[in-house]
Symmetry: none
C-alpha cells in the first residue's frame, strides 16, 4: 500500500491537557513509524470531549491515510474515543459478540466480576476489527475504510507497547513491505553544530539517504535514513564519505554511548579506572555507572572542591600555590594521586571548580589529566561559559579524552 500523505498521531486524554501526564506515546509512535518508512505530519493531543475529539478525527481523516490514536478506550463515561471515531466515520457503534466473549474471559482469568460499564469496551463499528490486549480490558481497533487505516490503541504504555510490537507493527510492516528503511547515526564530538553543518553541507541536499543533524548532550548526532532496495549501498557510500571528512571527531554510532565504549575498552584490557573530580561533581561517575557491570572496571575516586582537601589527599601545596587549582599541572597531579590511592591502572582528573561553580564569573576553562602505563597527559578544555549544563559538558569532555587516550594506547 502507499501512504499518500504523512501519518498523524492523536493522543487522547484530558490528563495530558492538564499536564498531569507527559505524552510519551506520541514520541514512541513517530519513531516507530519512521522505521517503517512512514513520516508523521502532525501530533494532536485532545481531551475527553465529544465535540472536540470528533472534530479532531474528522480533520485528520481529511488530511491523511494513516491515523494512530492512543487513549480514551477505558470503560468509563469519559472514555469517548470509540464514539467519536464512529461518528467521524459515520458508522454505528454496536456490541460485538466476539469482543464481549474475550472481555468476559479476561475477567474470569483475573477472578473479577465484570462491571456493566466494561461492555463499552466490546463495542465496535462495521469496518473495524478488535486487536487483542493481553494486559488490560480495552481491545485496540484496526479500521480499514476507503483506503485509510485508523488504529486505536489503549493509552497506558504497558498496554500500548506490547500491542504495538506484537500486533500493529507486524500488520503495518506487511502493508509497507516495499519500503526498506535503514538508518545510521554517527556521533560527533569536539566540533560545534554550525561547524559540522558547514563541513558536510552538500550531504544535506541528498534525497536518499537523507541527513539530519541534532545537538545532543554528548555532542552532535548525524542521522542517515535510506529507503528502497538499494538502501544498504546508498547509506554505506554516504557514511564512508562523511567519516572521511569528520574522521576522529566521530566517536561512535547508533546505540553506542561514551560510557559504554569506555567500559568495553577497559573491560577488554582488564584495566581499572579511578577519577579525581573537581569539576563535574559526580556527573562523570554517574554516567560511567549507568553501564551494567561498571563496578568491574570503575573503582571510584575522589571528589573535592577545596585546595585544603586536595592537599590532605596528596596534592603538593607548593604546586597548588604556584599554578592554582585550575591548571594543567594540578590536573596531572590529581590524576596521579587518584591512580595511586585507588590502585587503579588509569587515573583521570578534571579541574574547574572555581569556574564551573559560578557560571557568571567563569571563563569556562578546565583541565583534564590522564595517567596510564604510557605516562601522563593533560588536555585544556574550553567550555562555552554561561551554559547551565557546563558540568555535563565537562563530564562529556573528560569521557571523550579518556576514550581518545585509550584508543591511542
Amino acid at each position: 500500500m502507499t501512504i499518500q500523505n504523512q501519518a498523524e498521531i492523536i493522543s487522547i486524554g484530558t490528563e495530558i491537557l492538564m499536564g498531569e501526564i507527559t505524552d510519551t506515546n506520541a514520541n514512541y509512535l513517530v519513531t516507530q513509524l519512521r522505521l517503517l518508512g512512514v513520516e508523521a505530519g502532525r501530533i494532536t493531543a485532545a481531551g475527553d470531549d465529544r465535540t472536540q475529539l470528533t472534530e479532531v478525527f474528522r480533520q485528520a481523516l481529511a488530511r491523511t491515510d494513516l491515523i494512530i490514536a492512543t487513549g480514551g478506550l477505558g470503560p468509563t463515561d469519559d472514555d469517548l474515543t470509540r464514539e467519536c471515531l464512529a461518528e467521524a466515520l459515520g458508522e454505528p457503534l454496536t456490541l460485538n459478540d466476539q469482543l464481549e466473549e474475550e472481555l468476559r474471559a479476561y475477567f474470569m482469568r483475573t477472578h473479577r466480576e465484570m462491571p456493566l460499564n466494561n461492555l463499552r469496551q466490546a463495542m465496535l463499528i462495521p469496518s473495524g476489527k478488535g486487536i487483542p490486549n493481553p494486559r488490560g480490558t480495552a481491545p485496540g481497533w484496526w479500521v480499514e475504510k476507503d483506503g485509510k487505516i485508523i488504529v486505536l490503541i489503549p493509552g497506558p504504555p504497558r498496554e500500548m507497547l506490547p500491542m504495538w510490537q506484537n500486533e500493529i507493527k507486524p500488520r503495518l510492516e506487511k502493508k509497507f513491505a516495499g519500503r526498506i528503511v535503514l538508518t545510521r547515526t554517527l556521533k560527533v564530538y569536539g566540533l560545534g553544530e554550525a561547524k559540522v553543518n558547514e563541513m558536510i553541507a552538500p550531504f544535506f541536499q541528498l534525497a536518499n539517504p537523507t541527513l539530519g543533524i541534532y545537538a545532543k548532550p554528548d555532542g552532535i548526532h548525524l542521522r542517515l535514513i535510506a529507503r528502497g532496495p538499494e538502501a544498504a549501498g546508498l547509506i554505506g557510500v554516504t557514511e564512508r564519505q562523511i567519516r572521511e571528512i569528520l574522521h576522529n571527531n566521530i566517536w561512535g554510532q547508533d546505540e553506542e554511548t561514551l560510557p559504554g565504549i569506555i567500559g568495553k575498552l577497559l573491560g577488554e584490557r582488564g584495566l581499572k579506572l579511578a577519577i579525581f573530580d573537581d569539576g563535574t561533581r559526580g556527573i562523570i561517575s554517574s554516567l560511567l555507572s549507568q553501564v551494567e557491570g561498571s563496578a568491574t572496571y570503575y573503582s571510584g575516586g575522589l571528589m573535592t572542591t577545596t585546595d585544603e582537601v586536595k592537599i590532605t589527599m596528596g596534592i603538593s601545596s607548593t604546586l597548588l600555590a604556584k599554578h592554582a587549582a585550575v591548571s594543567a599541572e594540578v590536573a596531572e597531579a590529581m590524576a596521579a594521586v587518584v591512580q595511586k590511592e585507588f590502585r587503579a591502572d588509569i587515573g583521570l582528573s578534571i579541574t574547574g571548580i572555581g569556574g564551573l561553580d559560578d557560571e557568571k564569573s567563569t571563563s569556562g576553562e578546565c583541565y583534564i589529566g590522564i595517567v596510564d602505563a604510557q605516562g601522563i597527559v593533560n588536555y585544556q578544555q574550553k567550555l562555552l561559559p554561561h551554559r547551565d549544563n557546563m558540568r555535563n559538558l565537562a563530564a562529556i569532555a573528560a569521557l571523550f579524552r579518556l576514550r581518545q587516550r585509550l584508543l591511542e594506547g
Copy 2:
C-alpha cells in the same frame, strides 16, 4: 480579560514529528496555564512546513483566544513560525528596527559576527511586539489582535523557561488578574502512592480545592489547587488537615527540593558535608551540586566500589570481614572516615554496591550512615528491587535521612 474558550498549545519542529526530541514544552506550558486558571483544549505538534503550519495557526485562531506556540524561531530557512503566523493573521512581516538593534547588540556582547540569516529573527508584524531573549538570538512575540492573544516562544527549554517565567507569565497574570488561583504542592517521602492515596482518600472528592497525586523521582507530590476569592482560606484548611495526617513524611512544599533544603540548613549553620558513596555512584553529589553555591558547604568525598580501596581509605579490614560492606557497621565507619579525611562537620555514607550494581540479584538493601557533632547513626533502607532507577532512589533516601538528622540536631 476573559478567555472564552480553552487555550491551545502549538509545538513546532519537524524534529518532534521525527521522534528526535520529545516535546516537553507542551507539558510545562499546560501546567503553567493551569496555575493561571486557564485550561488547555488542544496541543498540536506540527512540522516546519509552510502550508501545514499556516493551517494549524488558522484553525487554532478560529477556536481559541489564547495560543502559546514554541519553536521554529531560529535563523534558518526552515524556521517558519513567524511567516506562518503572519500569513494566518493576514499581516505583513517586516524588519523591525528595535529588534535588529537588540540582535546586533547580542552578537556584539558574545563577540561574534552576525550572519545575515539572523536578520530573519528581527522580523515582526504590526500587531506584534518583541519579547526579549537574554539566552539566545530569537526574540519571542507577543501578539494581540481582535481580542486574541498569540505568544511565540523559542523552542529550546533553556530559552523558553526564563522567557515564560520573566516575561510571559507576569503579563498573562495581569490579564487574568480576576481569577484567583492558588496552588500548594506538598512533597512526601517514605510512603508509597497507594498508601498516601488511602490515607487522604476523602480529600480527592473536594471540588475546591482540588487534590492531585503524582509519583515523582523524589517521592509523592500532592497538589492542591483552589479558585475564587476564598482560595487562600480554602487551601489553608485542607493543607492543615493533610499535614496532620501525613505529618513527618512531608519534607517540603512548592519549589523546595531536598538538595535545596539541605543546602539551606548546612549554610545557615556553617556546616561542611562530605560523602562516602558506595551505592549511588556519584548521584548524591550531582544532586547536591545542582544547588547554586553548594561548594561552600559541600566539600566532596570518596567513591569506591571495592573493599580493597575502602581499606586503603581507612575502613578496618576486620570490620569488613566481620560485617561485609553492606552493613550498618561499615556504613557508620565510612561516614566517620570521610568526615575526618575531608575535615567536614558531617560525614554521610551510603553502602549497597553489591546489591545496587546487579539489579537482578539484589535484595534492594542498603545502609546510610551519618556522623555529626551529636554522634553517629545509621538507617537501614530497603529499596524496591528490580527498579531501573535504584541508584536514584538510594540517593533520595540518603538526602531524606540527612535532612531528618539535620532537623533533629
